[in-house]
């Protein structure tokens, strides 16, 4: 039980996807200008990633491995994820058009969020079982959402800061992300007992 807790905690804080593993940065930089959109994007990613981790585990274990075609993993995973994303997109477009417009180009780009492929691949590399895969996927995407929302909070405030002109916008956001990443290094070593 505690080991599952560690999987989640580790994925959320210690090895935060964005700030420590450096995955999923494009949406992290792109959708963090407003708190609202950040929350929406976080939720969408969490949904896709958790589902993607489960599905890819099943496909890996019940299709690829028995057939001995592990080299198809990248292909199989990404195609699955792309399909999940597209279905999600269609559903959101139908049920919440405003969210859809706000998330704009980023919804299809969830597919190209490295984290969404990276985490299932890491699941394989770390030999997670089905539950661990799901938890790891969930934890990672919660970590992603957390970082994204906090980052958006800071960026909303930064809007009013008297930042030197060349640094206005993305550049200072990068520096901020760097400092956040530095702060998250404080968690280093917390997962060593597991």
């Amino acid at each position: 039980m505690t080991s599952y807790l560690f999987v989640i905690l580790g994925a959320v804080l210690v090895n935060n996807v964005v700030l420590v593993r450096i995955l999923g940065l494009c949406p992290f930089m792109g959708v963090s200008k407003k708190l609202e959109t950040a929350v929406g994007m976080g939720a969408a990613t969490t949904f896709v990633l958790t589902l993607g981790c489960g599905t890819s585990y099943l496909v890996d274990h019940y299709a690829l491995m028995p057939a001995g075609v592990e080299y198809l993993r990248t292909l199989a995973f990404i195609v699955i994820i792309a399909a999940i994303v597209q279905v999600t997109e269609l559903v959101i477009q139908k049920t919440s058009p405003m969210l859809h417009q706000v998330l704009g180009i980023y919804l299809p780009l969830i597919t190209t969020n490295c984290a969404v492929l990276g985490i299932p691949l890491l699941n394989v590399a770390l030999h997670h079982d089905l539950l661990e895969s799901l938890l790891f996927g969930f934890g990672s995407s919660v970590g992603f959402s957390l970082a994204l929302v906090l980052f958006a909070g800071i960026r909303e405030r930064l809007d009013g800061a008297d930042v030197p002109v060349p640094f206005k916008g993305t550049a200072i956001a990068m520096v901020t992300a760097g400092l956040m990443s530095l702060a998250f290094m404080g968690f280093a070593g917390l997962d060593k007992f597991h």
């Binding site: 292909l75 780009l109 490295c114 760097g178």
Partner: protein, 228 residues
């Protein structure tokens, strides 16, 4: 399409729409793999390869791909080509393959690859698309290389460490001598963010200066009177 159009596409990819510092896409490999020049450039080359091939293939096949499933098909193609590159690295540049780790398969999800395929290759003919892919890739590689250089230099005081993985026998350059204590942050994730932030700011500054210059002395009228 004439030569000028190709040149524009190239310039667009390398500077005007540079993925790393302008479009702010494809950041993960840029930040994660730019710990040294060699790593950075190797991944850059792999990406160029994938981008060129996928742009070419998709531009060529664009009329056969139904709209509803374009994204899965694009990704399928990119993933297949990436796997090819991945297998090739594994076979022939094994050490580098180990260093780059999951970032080779992750070329698939490099936003910029899909973004270019969607934005360009799906709408243009193959040659232009290939050039676009290469140019975008070069733009990415340039950012990677510059970042790699900065981080490697500040972080460990060397340049081109790990070059022996590509060219056995070659050696890294110790720029600051052996006593340099190294500034580890540069190599760690925070350093990656700082360095890219500075790079973006630097480009902003250059562009702003260019603009200011252009404002100060508007381009001289070049066409000479016919009679003269």
């Amino acid at each position: 399409m004439d030569l000028k159009a190709y040149r524009d596409i190239a310039w667009n990819g390398i500077w005007k729409q540079n993925t790393g510092v302008v479009q702010i896409l494809g950041l993960c490999p840029i930040l994660a793999i730019s710990t040294s020049i060699v790593n950075a450039v190797s991944l850059g080359l792999a990406t160029i390869l994938v981008m060129a091939m996928s742009n070419l293939v998709i531009a060529a096949l664009r009329n056969f791909i139904p709209y509803e499933i374009r994204i899965p098909v694009f990704i399928l193609i990119i993933a297949a080509l990436t796997t090819v590159v991945d297998l090739a690295f594994n076979a022939y540049l094994h050490e580098l393959y180990l260093v780059l780790g999951i970032f080779i398969p992750l070329i698939v999800t490099n936003c910029i690859v899909l973004a270019r395929v969607e934005a360009f290759a799906a709408k243009n003919e193959p040659i232009g698309s290939t050039i676009d892919g290469i140019a975008m890739g070069i733009g990415l590689t340039l950012v990677l290389a510059v970042l790699g250089a900065i981080r490697e230099l500040i972080g460990s005081g060397t340049l081109l460490s790990g070059i022996e993985m590509l060219f056995p026998g070659a050696e890294a350059i110790h720029v600051f001598g052996d006593d340099y204590p190294g500034f580890l942050i540069a190599i760690l994730p925070p350093g990656a963010f700082f360095a890219l932030g500075c790079l973006i700011a630097g480009r902003n500054w250059l562009e702003a200066r260019k603009l200011a210059r252009a404002r100060m002395n508007p381009p001289a009228i070049t066409d000479t009177p016919a009679e003269a």
